[in-house]
């Protein structure tokens, strides 16, 4: 399985590799961060042994949580469907191994910062018996795109870069707009994380095969594979795989190592020199970005018939005794994974799921590995970074902002809670990369305040929308009542006038007729 990468292979020797930067777009700002990746990339990826218990959260994707289709006590096989998506946006959850469903109950999860969320608790029987493939095994090129998309949906595949947006829905959305490039995101710009690097080194052919499936699903003929220049082994491995596949639709692009060039919009800017519009998506400019891990997962499901039940994750940081990359079943607890690598270092202080720039701090290692977990970072007690001081308007933050915002202005307006100004300065376009925090000489936690302000703006917008609807309904009701009243008055007036027109003679006649009737009775 492990591909040995020949040493000394230079990327310019292979036809598919573009020279660094010469045909790339320009990224504004960004930072060159220390990589800290060497420690976790010395060894090949290790498999984490099957744990005694797997914890599978129902919500491992963007959208509504999946609904369980199994009950407590059921025996399930590896790869069996456990929960189905509910609603329009979602992805199914599969059993990562064979065993018995112990319970469906809340368990601490990393998505909610260690707060409990509904999970399926599976007790493994250790036999790891796979479910028999029920799907017909036609080659994917014989399937029409719609069929292929629904197959991808049933594999539980989500974006493995960390955003966990259901892949099938992203592809369906892309099919409705005209797309000409697929971009495989092999850029792992955050420090410490190296899971995609190791994946590309060891499974380059599978990654590219997944890209071919995705191109067929999208019905396009162009795929750029973007990899940062600090990953020469991955670049070489991909180049060899490309030569073997001999598919001219695939082009390898080497990009400079700058954080955050791995952001979706930033990558589109770099590779295609197209700017994604404010609040827009890469599909608005004809591009679709998928993580290399997602492409490998698509390959495993479409060609290998294995749904998304495991992933590679980086275990790193100064608080880890032996940093490395591991392949673990979805549902293995972080504690089990760290134990396999050799445990925590003595002075380990706190646990971060994700990278140091955008990751989340978690208070417990009982949380399970989920589809989104690309890195388990354990850091030492951080030395005091400095007291927050007033902004001196140096403008360093504006120089590094990859979205070309003005963080110092946003900072003032966020503090003043000035919603109008925050809109004017496009707070919504902030990607929360954390570059401004890092360069701020006054140690102002800018990104955190922007996150809070974003939430408040959303709240305010919701409130406004609610008020507008209530007002529309109130006005509609008033006009209806008005209309009814006018109608009733008009009817009354008509009755009166017709009686008047008939005159007293007619009334007397009616009275006589009534009297006759009563006499007849």
């Amino acid at each position: 399985m492990h591909r040995t990468v020949p040493r000394g292979l230079h990327q310019h020797e292979t036809a598919h590799v573009s020279a660094p930067t010469y045909d790339l777009g320009k990224l504004h700002g960004g930072l060159r961060l220390p990589g800290h990746k060497a420690a976790s990339t010395t060894e090949p990826v290790r498999d984490v042994p099957l744990p005694a218990q797997l914890i599978l959260p129902l919500a491992q994707h963007v959208g509504d949580p999946a609904q369980p289709v199994v009950n407590t006590g059921d025996y399930v096989l590896k790869g069996q469907l456990l929960a189905e998506p509910d609603g329009t946006l979602g992805a199914p959850v599969h059993a990562s191994s064979s065993g018995t469903v112990l319970a469906i109950e809340p368990w601490p999860v990393s998505q909610r910062l260690g707060e409990p969320a509904p999970c399926i608790i599976l007790e493994c029987d250790g036999e790891d018996r796979p479910i028999e493939a029920t799907r017909r095994t036609a080659h994917y090129t014989e399937l029409d795109p719609e069929e292929l998309l629904s197959t991808i949906l049933s594999g539980g595949i989500v974006g493995l870069g960390g955003a966990v947006f259901p892949t099938a829905q992203k592809l369906m959305q892309a099919r409705t707009s005209s797309i000409d490039h697929l971009i495989l995101n092999g850029i792992e710009c955050e420090p410490y994380i190296s899971c995609d690097d190791m994946l590309m080194r060891e499974r380059a052919t599978e990654v590219l095969s997944g890209a071919q499936v995705l191109m067929h699903a999208l019905q396009i003929d162009s795929c750029f594979v973007a990899v940062e220049s600090d990953k020469p082994e991955a670049l070489a491995s991909l180049a060899i795989a490309m030569t073997e596949l001999d598919d001219e639709r695939l082009v390898l692009k080497q990009v400079p190592t700058i954080y955050p060039s791995g952001g979706e919009d930033q990558l589109v800017q770099l590779i295609c020199n197209r700017e994604v519009p404010s609040t827009g998506l890469p599909t608005d400019v004809g591009c679709l970005v998928q993580n290399v891990g997602t492409a490998a997962a698509v390959h495993d499901w479409i060609i290998g018939q294995e749904p998304l039940i495991s992933r590679i994750t980086t275990v790193a940081g100064d608080g880890i005794a032996n940093p490395m990359n591991v392949r673990a079943r979805i549902g293995t607890t972080i504690a089990d994974i760290v134990a396999l690598t050799g445990g925590y270092a003595e002075s380990a202080d706190h646990l971060i799921i994700g990278g140091p720039m955008t990751g989340k701090s978690i208070s417990t290692d009982r949380v399970p590995l989920v589809k989104a977990t690309n890195s388990i970072l354990v850091v030492l007690k951080t030395s005091f970074t400095g007291r927050e001081l007033p902004c001196i308007r140096c403008g360093d933050c504006a120089a590094v902002c990859p979205v070309q915002l003005l963080p110092q202005q946003l900072h003032w307006h966020a503090r003043a809670d000035d919603e109008k100004k925050l809109r004017e300065f496009s707070l919504v376009d902030c990607i929360e990369c954390g570059c401004c925090d890092l360069v701020c000489p006054s140690h102002i936690p800018l990104t955190a305040s922007f996150r809070v302000a974003k939430g408040r703006i959303q709240e305010l917008a919701d409130e406004k929308a609610r008020a507008a609807r209530a007002r529309a309904r109130f006005e509609a009701r008033n006009s209806r009542l008005e209309r009814d009243k006018e109608k009733r008055e008009a009817e009354l007036a008509q009755q009166k006038s017709s009686a008047k027109r008939a005159g007293p003679e007619a009334i007397a006649e009616i009275m006589r007729r009534k009297k006759r009737q009563s006499e007849d009775d």
């Binding site: 409130e463 609610r466 008020a467 209530a470 309904r473 109130f474 509609a476 009701r477």
Partner: protein, 160 residues
């Protein structure tokens, strides 16, 4: 020296005359102001301010016939925004209210239509002698339906 003072004084006089003329001739802004104030109110139409709806209250505020702190659903935030818009002092709320929606106990409802007829946003559905229910997403929590109910089957459910 004298010429300079005279020129400035004349200019000031001319500008003053022009402004006073404009304020008298041109239509006032109060119509727009009512709309702006109304825009800031939560549109629950609950009448808890003592006026029969948000717009009448907005008109009263602009005419200075009502204080700006009478809107419980709007909360402190609304008072603050009104104070900024009108340049008045942000008084503390006269009465606070937590966001809630009305819920009908459907086992008790006798289908009398009383609540449906008072709901300012048509959030109650039902017909005579049939059970009524509240469309939760449309309910503004104005509490106007609680008093008319003859069997007291409507209660407020706080929104978390």
């Amino acid at each position: 020296m004298f010429i300079a003072i005279a020129t400035i004084a004349l200019l000031a006089l001319a500008a003053g005359l022009l402004l006073s003329l404009a304020s008298r001739r041109l239509p006032g802004e109060s119509g727009d102001l009512v709309e702006q104030v109304n825009e800031l109110l939560p549109q629950t139409q609950c009448a808890q301010c003592g006026f029969p709806g948000c717009r009448p209250y907005a008109a009263a505020i602009v005419e200075d016939a009502a204080a700006i702190n009478l809107c419980p659903p709007g909360g402190e935030a609304t008072v603050r925004r009104l104070a900024t818009l009108l340049g008045r002092e942000a008084l503390p709320l006269a009465k606070t209210l937590d966001p809630a929606v009305a819920v009908i106990d459907e086992s008790l409802c006798i289908g009398c239509l009383h609540c449906r007829n008072v709901c300012p946003v048509d959030a109650i559905v039902g017909a005579q002698h049939f059970m009524h229910t509240i469309i939760e997403s449309e309910c503004t929590g104005c509490e106007l339906c609680i008093a008319p109910c003859p069997v007291d089957c409507i209660s407020m459910k706080p929104l978390t």
